[in-house]
C-alpha cells in the first residue's frame, strides 16, 4: 500500500480551502454585487454558473483523451505508468460528465425563464447533449466490461469519442444553420458589460479550482483502489505458493 504522504495531504486540504473560499467570493459577486441584468432580471445571474462550467466541461474531455492515449502507449511498455494514466482518464471523464450535466441543467433552467421552454434543438444545446451522451457511454463501458480488459477498451472508446466530438460539432452546426435563423437568437450577447466581468472571472476561477480538486481527489481514490487490487492479487499468489504440493 502506498504510504500516505503528509505534505501532499496538507496541500490537498489547502487546495480545498482555497476552492471553497473562491467559490464563496464568486457567489457573493454573482448574487449580491453584480447589478441585475436589465433584460433578464435576476434569472440572468445563472449565467455566472452556466458559462464557466460549460467552458470547463469542454476542457476535461481533452484530458481524458490525452490520458487514454498515454495509457495505450504505455500499456505494454510500462504497465505501472499505464495504470496511473488510466486512473486519470477515468477521473477526467467523470468530472467531464459532472460539469456537462451542470451546464445542461443550469442552461435548461435559464431557458425555461428566458425562452419559456426547457429545451430546444439548437446547435449549442444539441452538441452539448451529445458530448454528455458520449462520456456517459464511456463510463457505462467501464462498468460493464469484463475485469482486466476494461482499461484498454475504455481507452479505445475514448479515442473514438474524441474523434467524434469535432464531427458532432461541425455536423450539428451545419444541420441548424441550413434552417432559418433560430427563433430564440443565436447565442449569448456578444461581449460582456464591464460590471459583469468580476463575477464571471471569479466564478470561472472558482469552478476551475474546484474541478481540479475533485479531479485529483478522484484520481487518488482510483489509485488507491488499484493498489488495493494489486495487493490482493499478490496475496492470492503468495497463498497459492504456500500450499504443500
Amino acid at each position: 500500500m502506498e504510504q500516505r504522504n503528509p505534505t501532499l495531504r496538507s496541500v490537498g486540504w489547502l487546495w480545498f480551502g482555497i476552492a471553497v473560499a473562491v467559490l464563496v467570493v464568486g457567489f457573493r459577486q454573482a448574487i449580491f454585487l453584480t447589478p441585475t441584468d436589465a433584460a433578464q432580471g435576476d434569472a440572468g445571474r445563472i449565467f455566472y454558473y452556466h458559462v464557466p462550467t460549460a467552458m470547463l466541461s469542454l476542457i476535461f474531455p481533452y484530458l481524458n483523451f490525452a490520458a487514454s492515449l498515454a495509457y495505450l502507449f504505455w500499456r505494454t511498455r510500462d504497465p505501472l505508468k499505464a495504470l496511473s494514466a488510466d486512473a486519470f482518464a477515468l477521473a477526467s471523464a467523470e468530472v467531464a460528465v459532472v460539469y456537462a450535466s451542470i451546464t445542461l441543467i443550469t442552461g435548461s433552467i435559464w431557458g425555461r425563464v428566458a425562452w419559456g421552454i426547457w429545451w430546444t434543438w439548437d446547435a449549442r444545446l444539441t452538441s452539448m447533449l451529445l458530448l454528455w451522451l458520449l462520456y456517459v457511454s464511456y463510463l457505462m463501458l467501464r462498468r460493464f466490461s469484463a475485469t482486466g480488459q476494461s482499461q484498454t477498451l475504455a481507452a479505445v472508446l475514448s479515442v473514438f469519442a474524441a474523434v467524434d466530438v469535432p464531427i458532432v460539432y461541425m455536423s450539428i452546426r451545419w444541420w441548424r444553420t441550413q434552417h432559418p435563423a433560430p427563433v430564440f437568437g443565436g447565442g449569448p450577447n456578444s461581449g460582456m458589460d464591464k460590471s459583469m466581468l468580476p463575477a464571471f472571472f471569479w466564478n470561472l476561477a472558482a469552478w476551475a479550482i474546484w474541478g481540479i480538486f475533485i479531479l485529483i481527489f478522484r484520481f487518488a481514490l482510483q489509485r488507491r483502489r488499484q493498489f488495493a487490487e494489486q495487493e490482493a492479487a499478490l496475496q492470492a499468489i503468495e497463498a497459492s505458493l504456500e500450499i504443500p504440493q
Partner: protein, 229 residues
C-alpha cells in the same frame, strides 16, 4: 496482396456460415419489418402523405439500425464457440483482416435486408418519392457502412462484457449520431425534395468523410481490442 486474400478468406467464411444458417438475415428482416409495422400503426401513413414523407427517412433508418444491432452481436458470438476467436488471435494473419472481412460480410447482410425492405416500406407507407430516387442508391450503402463498420467494431469490443447485448447499442448510438443525422437528413431530403441538390450533396460528403475516418480508426485499433487482456 496477401492482406486482400486474408480479407476475402474471412469474408467467404462468414458468407458460408450465414448461407448455411441464414440466422442473421432472417432475424434482421423480420425485426425491421416489425419496426416498420409498429410505426405504420402509430402514424397512419396512408392518410397523411406529406407527413409520411417527412418522417419516413427517420423511420427507415431506425428500423435498419435496430435490426443491424441484433445481427452484429450474433456475428461475433459465432466466433466464440469452440474457441475460434482464440485461434484467430494466434493466427499469423493480420488482425484487422478479420475485422474487415466481418464488416464486409455484415454490410452485405444489411444490404440484402434493405433490398427486401425497401419495396415493402414503399408499399406500406404509400410513398411517392419527390426527389431523385437514384441518390438513395448512394445514400443507403454509405449510411449502412457507417453503422456496420462501427457496429462490428463495438460488438467485438463488448464481446466479453457481462451483458453485451445491452452494451452494443449504448456504445454504438452516441458515436453514430452524426452519421445518423447525415443519413436521415439526406434520405428525407430526397424523399420530400425539400433540400436542394447542394445540401444533399453536403450531407453525402459528410457521410463519406465519417465512413473514411471511422474505418481508418477501426482498422488501426482492432488489434488492440482483440488482444485486450
Amino acid at each position: 496482396m496477401t492482406y486482400l486474400h486474408h480479407v476475402l478468406d474471412h469474408l467467404r467464411k462468414d458468407l458460408r456460415l450465414e448461407w448455411r444458417s441464414r440466422d442473421s438475415i432472417n432475424g434482421m428482416l423480420f425485426f425491421a419489418l416489425l419496426v416498420v409495422v409498429v410505426f405504420g400503426l402509430a402514424f397512419d401513413p396512408a392518410g397523411y402523405p406529406t407527413t409520411t414523407r417527412q418522417i419516413s427517412g427517420g423511420v427507415l433508418w431506425v428500423a435498419l439500425l435496430f435490426a443491424s444491432i441484433t445481427a452484429l452481436n450474433l456475428s461475433w458470438a459465432r466466433e466464440l464457440r469452440n474457441q475460434v476467436l482464440e485461434a484467430q488471435r494466434m493466427a499469423p494473419a493480420p488482425a484487422s483482416a478479420l475485422f474487415v472481412g466481418k464488416a464486409l460480410a455484415n454490410m452485405l447482410f444489411v444490404l440484402v435486408v434493405e433490398a427486401f425492405l425497401a419495396p415493402i416500406f414503399i408499399v406500406f407507407f404509400n410513398l411517392h418519392v419527390l426527389g431523385n430516387v437514384w441518390l438513395l442508391a448512394l445514400i443507403l450503402p454509405l449510411g449502412t457502412w457507417a453503422l456496420v463498420v462501427n457496429g462490428t467494431f463495438f460488438a467485438a469490443l463488448g464481446l466479453r462484457a457481462r451483458n453485451r447485448e445491452l452494451l452494443l447499442p449504448l456504445l454504438l448510438l452516441p458515436i453514430s449520431l452524426p452519421a445518423l443525422l447525415a443519413m436521415v437528413q439526406a434520405t428525407t431530403g430526397v424523399l420530400t425534395a425539400d433540400l436542394d441538390a447542394i445540401q444533399i450533396n453536403t450531407w453525402i460528403k459528410q457521410l463519406v468523410g465519417y465512413d473514411i475516418i471511422f474505418t481508418t480508426i477501426c482498422i488501426l485499433l482492432f488489434e488492440t481490442v482483440l488482444n485486450a487482456e
